[in-house]
Symmetry: C2
Subunit: 337 residues, 2 copies
């Protein structure tokens, strides 16, 4: 992927529709088993850890990462469903761990429409429960061979590096499109990539197909994050379960912000760099982005990566798993929450 692509036009093609397929219902039984495993493995001898993990994990979330693994496993005709359930559970645990630690880092008040664990339970307990969830993820990965543990660790390493990289561009107007892509690849797309790659690997797919799955996950993750960034500007609070403008409040360089900075947009640049933007400042910057072209361009870039993801799986033989993955791409990149 060439990061300079970001500076050129986005996608003009549209995704072929798979709207009649519900990717979640295709793996509903396996997802139910993931839920059971999540509930089981987050039971601790210390009830506070159980409470905090439950607060987050039972508090909603789209289970996108488990669905990616489960559908990829299906698309590559995996046999032992239990294996896919274990890996899918590990991916969600890692995601949950990073959410707890991210909320500490951002001082977040809300998560999934509820008070954040950090605000409710405080720093110590939230930090430790994040560690606990990371560890549980490795228990699941450890049931498999060294490759599975190594790839899982690589994804986690990317997440930590993405967090640091994002921090270095916090409220920093020198951020480029290339920097943006590096952050997104590491902070979001790496876990999508690894979830898809592991789904194919444990299904026994040959290595070139495992790489195809990885590329699918990577591009889907980028497309997903770009759409998330768009919704932070134009989304509806009642659907999102959180306020818009969080990226401006936290000083995180989202795609609409980066595109505005590259356009030399003064209001967005000022508010983005401000250590203490007022709510009025944030609304002005959101309005500026909403009324300009950056949102349409950001949507277009998201579609472009969504198309790349879809093309990776087009070569697979027609099957339920492939249809589900294609439908998932549409669902995650043409969404309102």
């Amino acid at each position: 992927m060439d990061p300079q692509d970001l500076l050129t036009d986005g996608a003009e093609e549209s995704l072929s529709s798979s709207n009649h397929v519900d990717p979640y219902s295709l793996v509903a039984r396996q997802l139910q088993r993931v839920e059971e495993k999540l509930a089981d493995c987050t039971r601790s001898r210390e009830s506070e850890i159980t409470d905090i993990a439950s607060h987050l994990i039972r508090g909603g979330g789209k289970r996108i990462r488990p669905v990616i693994t489960l559908l990829t496993f299906e698309a590559f005709h995996g046999g032992r469903e239990q294996d896919a359930v274990d890996i899918a559970t590990a991916m969600e645990l890692i995601h949950a761990a990073t959410l707890l630690h991210d909320d500490i880092i951002d001082g977040a008040e809300f998560r999934r429409g509820k008070q954040s664990a950090y605000k409710r339970y405080g720093l110590t307990r939230t930090l430790v429960t994040g560690d606990f969830l990371f560890i549980k993820a490795f228990e699941f990965a450890g049931k498999f061979d060294e490759t599975v543990v190594q790839w899982t660790a690589d994804a986690c390493t990317s997440l930590t590096e993405g967090e640091i990289l994002q921090g270095s561009f916090n409220r920093n107007r020198t951020v480029t499109a290339e920097d943006y892509l590096h952050i997104v690849e590491r902070k979001t797309a790496s876990l999508f990539q690894t979830g898809a790659k592991l789904g194919a690997y444990i299904a026994g797919a040959p290595s070139e197909q495992v790489e195809m799955a990885a590329s699918f996950g990577l591009n889907l993750g980028i497309a997903f994050q770009m759409m998330d960034d768009v919704l932070d500007v134009v989304g509806r609070r009642d659907l999102l379960g959180k306020s818009t403008g969080m990226d401006l409040r936290d000083g995180n360089p989202s795609l609409p912000i980066v595109l505005s900075l590259l356009d030399g947009h003064r209001t967005v640049s000022q508010v983005f760099q401000s250590q203490t933007p007022t709510e009025n400042d944030i609304q002005r910057a959101l309005d500026a982005m909403g009324n300009g072209t950056v949102i349409e361009r950001a949507r277009s870039f998201s579609r472009k990566y969504a198309l790349k993801a879809s093309r990776e799986i087009e070569r697979l033989p027609e099957c339920m798993g492939r249809d589900g993955l294609r439908a998932l791409v549409g669902l995650l990149t043409d969404r309102h929450s």
Copy 2:
């Protein structure tokens, strides 16, 4: 182990001396390889992570956990030295990860006689680097079978549970001897236990000997922490590399504090429960403990657990590894820093 033992007399026997053996020099070559692996695996694409990991790992530390694994591996006549080096490295990485997270939790100013990573690099970077070190530990554990990953995860789970348990007794005068032992077993001794257990396991020892090694590590860990607690009252700052009285400052129930509370000592109880003890308060409580009998009783309890540890390995045939372990017990429980 019966926690009520704490309320009865400590050890009257003394450890048989192995002072002529230096446990570190017995595994000097392997320890050097651990150092190289620690330096290698903490190199990140993000230089800040590398810097923080180096700040901590190259900033000293006794490498007790690696030495335990390396000597246990020797004591059970392990073959592939590389395996012991990998597990020893994993144990130190886990320890380092918890130090970074503990410093955030305690708001610690100093660590190993230097400014703490938390104070120097801030919350975000320190938290993320802690995660990074946990992940690297699992990369090493993942080279082995599922049992190794599971035991490693169990030790980490105990560490997180110990942290929460300790938090629930922070500045809480209702803490009992049993609570104290539960905290120490989880927060300190679990990693000693797992390091010894894994050293025996990867050496190919039969299961009853693996359990013997685990019991050795557990008791050594308890003895070590008890001595650490004593030194926080009577240690010399220049040798410790930190101030004394940290447990009172942080409100953590150390053994001398717990014994004082059980004795109904009013000064120690008041200072321990105070949210904001003055330096004068802390000195008064330290003096009270130093002048009473709690220090001698705490030392005696430490010796008792040290003896239990030593007895576990007495049954092993005479060998360099066993001599090293016996000497290590003496070194860690008859110390001044």
